[in-house]
Amino acid sequence: MSRRVSPGRIGKKPVNFSFDGRSFQGYAGDTLASALLANDQMLLGRSFKYHRPRGLITLGSEEPNALVTIGSGARQTPNTRATTQELYEGLSASSQNRYPSLKFDLLSVNDRLSRFLTAGFYYKTFMWPRSFWESVYEPLIRRAAGLGKLSEVEDADQYDKGFLHCDCLVIGGGIAGLEAALEAAHQGKAVILCDENPRLGGMELFDSAPIDSVEGLIKELQSLSNVRLMSRTTVQGAFDHGVYSALTQNTDHLAQPHKAAPRQTLWRIYSSEAVLASGAHERMIAFDNNDRPGVMLSSALRGYLNYFGVLAGDTCAVFGCHDDARKTVVDLHAAGAKVIWIDTRSAHEPVDGVQCFTDARVVDTRGRHRLKGIEIEQGGERFWLPCDALGVAGGWNPRVQLTCHQGGRPRWSNDVGGFISGTDLPPGMRVVGAAAGEYLRGNWSPVWDVSKRGSAFVDPQNDVTVKDIKLAHQEGFISVEHLKRYTTLGMATDQGKNANTLGIGVLSQHTGNAIESVGTTLFRPPYTPVAIGALAGRARGKAFKPTRLTPSHEFATRQGASFVTVGNWLRAAYFPQAGETHWRESVDREALAVRNAVGVCDVTTLGKIDVQGRDAAQFLNLVYANGFLKLPVGKTRYGLMLREDGIVFDDGTAARLSENHFVVTTTTANAVPVYRHMEFVHQCLAPNLDVHLISTTESWAQFAVAGPRSRELLQRIVDLEISNEAFGFMACAETRLLDGTPARLFRISFSGELAYELAVPARFGNSLMQTLLEVGADLGATPYGTEALGVLRIEKGHAAGNELDGRTTAVNLGLGQMVAQTKDSIGRVLANRDLLANSTLRLVGFRSDQQILTGSWLIPPGRSSEQDNTLGWVSSACYSPNLGCYIAIGFISDADQYLGAQLRAVSLLDKVDVGVSVVSPHFIDPEGERLRV
């Protein structure tokens, strides 16, 4: 049976779709809701808790009932409002929250038990045994109640994000919004107009009156170059500083969108001015069984008729307390329906040929899967009349949601009969049209609850009834905020658009308090539900965050390196060779190669900062705890940087390339913080110093060439005499490679071996890595990664990020003497505080035959593993292939006293408790002879 009585405003191009496996036909321009209604499919879903049959209530984004699942598998979208889902060829929708079928739902037994399932029933029941709550009760309740289900398959759609700027953002494309946009445009402002519907025009489109003026406005706006009209775009939130979020639905209405087209785009709109012209939506009246399929809002009944050409019933009743009911009566009557008009008011303008009941009310309905009749009360008498559609005109709620997003509180207007925006609007926002209550001031008689049994639904989405509200109030939930949380009134996908005002009205009616004193809850973003995918945008998978690749990344990839993420960098952790079955085999081999021959490691990720200017040395003398004024040109110095509070910030080196030119290196993790710190010192603490900073981390590819044969290898590469005499320990030079490539060479060592760091412009990095290994093949040149790098530095007892953890001082690290007391430097004064200066915590080494875990607590033998008994902690640990045992470094109090002692390294998290002996942190070459040869 078709309920289509005319093409409405959408035309007659047929579109095929399915609902719960049944095939239907609608027209292009239909929503899923209008198409189903046209096919006389009144039953669309089951309610959240009681599984009551439900149909449409509205024709817009505020729909609480007609929630369906669109699509399947990776493109399944649950909880889609049928009232906003545009119809397309092949659309496949299914109903939700029912088993086994929509018509026959086993869990509708809940409805029979509804007297026991009142608000908060599960707080009061399911108390015993306690362990059953999570394992039995909650899963059962969650299965029985709910909305749609996720497919649990990764979302196959793509999403998009973007940024828009305008002088005036108009929210809503109804007559008020169009006029506001035109006015702003004529003032020369850049205007963006967003409307959630596919077609601009607002509620005007749903009325029977001609829409020429609306179309004229749209045409004029389209002709202006400073106006951007964005339909299918919902402004979701109003944030600080004139920032608004908006979601455009790009492809949700298309049968076969381009595969690369983003389904939705989330916009961040910057606008100094906003005009909220979002209109208003109608609200329900609470009467018993007001949720039957066929009971909807009066404006919806009218809109489906005028816009979509669908007459919802043969006999349509309209129940209202507001002038707007009459408009619906007139249009239904003109369309040929038999109309019954029930109005709570005693006087209103009649409509010829329509049966009208004044001073009357609808108090109950009947029909299971669709409305069959209504019970009317008039003059103390009650009687039933048959009808198959009922429109309810309970008044209008201005859409003020966005006015609340920065704490604004709506205020009640008796004149409008609804909450309108308060004076505390987001800065730059003004409200116009129906959203401001305009057009809504009419002959309105407040009616909230006319139910007799309390089974009148206030919030159909959460199955909250008048009875629930009364019960909550009776139990002490007097505040409207508490009422909301106890009953779930106004929650879920419609966010109280339908329920809030009615709920407050019901509470007001039953407590006798004026609505103003009952108060209202506030609205938060988003205005309508937003897919999580839209929030993520393009930031998925590989695009989740940027990756930084080292200059030798290509070489490392070809070598089959295993990579580790260090910040955003991808660094080669180790280079497995054929036959190696465990990462430790690779790491041990690489570490031994460095100790016995020569290894090459890409250390480009270390921060590099160019420091130039006439006062460069003085500047470094200030930022480093140790002295730099007298560092000769051609020399490098290890530097320790403190925070203002005296804690160690970072360590690294500074090489003096010329009188006024230094190159500072930082740890990888602190490359940016150190640069920022130095800029702060320069700009704020020492602005008069002639110094200029610039990061060169990206510019130079830098390689550690370490091991007893490193000099032999480098002498084959660089065009520079690098004997110990000519290029001693800590020397540095700007030079060239033998092929003429510009380079920088530093004789510094992180491993404790004879070692150098060689830098070339980044574009030559990959080639240099390859060349070093080819040229040094006969010397045993081996690439090594961050794992071996870590082993080597632990063997040498060098502190790194694990030790510079924001808690340790120079004294703790055994570097107290580096803090020069004869000059001023950042952190010096506070480093001398008693608590820090007299700390007995020291960096020490640990050895064991068993694996020591980083993070273990150090506890004396015989003491329990409790916080009070800890002496310190293990900061870095590894297996040393050179020593043939497990080693670690870490901190303990009164370290001198424990040197040589046995302690326990306990990790409660990993349940590991191993004995360790306390030793010097310098496991290899404590005298430093190897690196000076």
């Binding site: 998009d160 994000k161 973007g162 940024f163 828009l164 700027h165 790009n250 492809t251 298309l254 969108p257 381009h258 595969k259 690369a260 087209a261 983003p262 785009t265 910057y270 393009r538 695009a543 965050k545 940027p546 990756t547 930084r548 690749l549 080292t550 200059p551 290509e554 955003n568 960098w569 480009t604 160019d610 130039q612 200017g613 006439r614 008069n688 002639d690 200029h692 610039i694 990061s695 060169t696 981390t697 990206e698 510019s699 130079w700 590469i717 490679l737 033998l738 092929d739 490539t741 070339v760 412009p761 980044a762 574009r763 030559f764 990095g765 990959n766 080639s767 240099l768 060349t771 040229v775």
Partner: protein
């Protein structure tokens, strides 16, 4: 004897669609320049003599070389800049050739691509203007070269991530037009 070879910031950094062309720029010479204290005036004069006005914040010089304001009293030069020998004693310079990678974006779809990636207002990267901004968390420069032509500079080590971001946005713009 060895001979080191140059690597591009990214292999295959080009993308063409009906609405935009994205092209990886070759390795270009770049230099940061900062006059020493008290030498800004003489440095400006030097550039004025060769017909270049060092740009203020938000502006860019497009010819004869690209010049961007890096910070207060600091500029980035790209391409073939004038011989700086006469002012060598007045300025600090640092070779930045390998610090950046560059992409050329051209075509009528360019504005739509950039509005998906750049939070700054489009006027800030219109012709002759430049903006330091973030593109998918990467610190970048967007420089307006012409009405529908831009240069985007980003960190060299993240050339691939920047390319992916630009390409995905370009694909989206293209696909939406075809819908």
């Amino acid at each position: 004897m060895f001979k080191l070879t140059e690597s591009p910031a990214l292999y295959n950094g080009d993308f063409h669609s009906p609405l935009c062309r994205l092209t990886l720029l070759p390795n270009l010479a770049r230099l940061s320049l900062a006059p020493m204290n008290g030498e800004l005036g003489r440095t400006r004069e030097f550039f004025q003599k060769v017909g270049i006005e060092l740009p203020g914040p938000t502006d860019a010089v497009l010819s004869p070389c690209l010049i961007l304001p890096l910070g207060r009293g600091q500029w980035l030069l790209q391409g073939e800049w004038p011989d700086l020998e006469p002012i060598n004693e007045l300025i600090c310079t640092t070779d930045q050739s390998d610090a950046w990678c560059g992409f050329q974006l051209a075509g009528s779809g360019g504005p739509a691509v950039l509005e998906r990636l750049v939070a700054a207002a489009p006027q800030s990267y219109s012709c002759g203007r430049a903006v330091r901004t973030q593109i998918e968390h990467l610190g970048c420069w967007v420089v307006g070269l012409d009405n529908n032509e831009w240069q985007i500079l980003g960190p060299r080590s993240s050339a691939e991530s920047l390319f992916v971001a630009l390409k995905h946005a370009a694909l989206a713009v293209d696909a939406l037009l075809q819908n």
